[in-house]
Symmetry: C2
Subunit: 200 residues, 2 copies
DNA sequence: TCGGCAGTTGACCGATCGGTCAAGAGAGCC
DNA sequence: GGCTCTCTTGACCGATCGGTCAACTGCCGA
């Protein structure tokens, strides 16, 4: 035809869904096509390979995440940091509501499974993580300038630490069958312990 | 026989190797059999399924880890905590030396990939994580009794936090192509920020 | 009006997947 | 010696995997 316009998007969104409720290995191209109501030939018109689809899904999530994180600027660093924790918790709570349990971080899941398998996907994930971490780092530097960072705390290392903690905490919730509501709480703890006493 | 005796062990060790350099989905039963020099029928004599093999690999790593963590008891809590950080870093450095890069945590990798796919494997991983966390918690409680914990820090939550941080930090090193040598350093940071000033 | 081209379709491919099975082979026990 | 039980073998299975292809369809610009 070809008519359409939204075929590619339907594929990406359907596979984003499937990848969250399963894994890269457990989701076949046929599964994706069925979920998106698209024939396989059409799929391969838009994506040269299954791995390329994964990258598109990564981009989808990365855009959504950065948009959400950029929302709360123009506030104090402490509030922004806690806002990030709430945002992460909110996203995970949304996933939990949709899928019935904590299904992990879209980046972290693919990173754990594919980093050692496909270098191009790993690069894609690495840059998504880097952008995420830079967003954290900007807030941490703001905190340093505001003087609310505990002495000896390096803002860049704190940003890295926050990201690591986020990933690890989500993973533990996923494997342990824990609720998403506690994820934000532990992130708040981590933030507070790095701030001076009395900094909200 | 049936001669042998070490066939099962060879299978488990070979697949532990393959699972670290790849993923559960990227390693086939045929791969495992070839690496262990075992025919497929023999494999299925010892393991009813591929998933059951994964559980055996989990047990292998869990035993090795707990043995390593139990080594440094009878010291101050602060030293023991830092000892745990060094142990984790040492394990990862060993993997890095063997595989040429950081390949992730054996538990974390499988947890991310299989938690949403196979509930029995997820249970297995959850109990491995729980034992690990309990080991951490024991040291954190010791730290509390020694009075070296910063005020407001809950030992159980700290143990959970340490585990989460460990997992996240290893994942970031894996996807970012970072060196394993820095993993221990960030864990030391996290421990120090939770201890009172002056506590070694 | 017509040609080209993005999009679509469904049939098809070889490879590989996890798993099965009947038959054999050797150690240990009687 | 012979029985049994564990282990081993290699051939085999249907299903599914990621990916290809030639043909078709309809919009759009010339």
């Amino acid at each position: 035809m070809g008519r359409s316009g939204d075929t590619r998007e339907r594929i990406v969104r359907a596979s984003a869904r499937l990848l969250l409720s399963g894994s890269y290995g457990s989701v076949s191209v046929d599964d994706v096509c069925a979920a998106a109501d698209v024939r396989k030939g059409s799929f391969y018109h838009f994506f040269p390979s299954k791995a390329e689809l994964a990258k598109a899904v990564i981009d989808l999530h990365a855009d959504a995440l950065l948009e959400r994180l950029a929302a709360a600027s123009g506030d104090t660093a402490a509030k922004r940091l806690h806002g990030v924790a709430d945002a992460v918790g909110g996203i995970q709570a949304g996933f939990e509501a949709t899928y019935g349990r904590v299904v992990g971080c879209p980046f972290g899941n693919l990173a754990a499974e594919l980093s050692t398998v496909d270098d191009t996907v790993r690069d894609h994930l690495a840059s998504a993580f880097a952008r995420w971490e830079h967003g954290f780092a900007a807030i941490c530097h703001q905190a340093e300038h505001e003087g609310v960072l505990r002495e000896g705390v390096d803002p860049d290392r704190l940003a890295h630490s926050l990201l690591a903690h986020t990933q690890g905490r989500i993973l533990l919730a996923k494997v342990g069958g824990l609720s998403a509501t506690d994820i934000a709480a532990t992130l708040h703890d981590l933030i507070d312990v790095h701030l001076r006493e009395g900094a909200a």
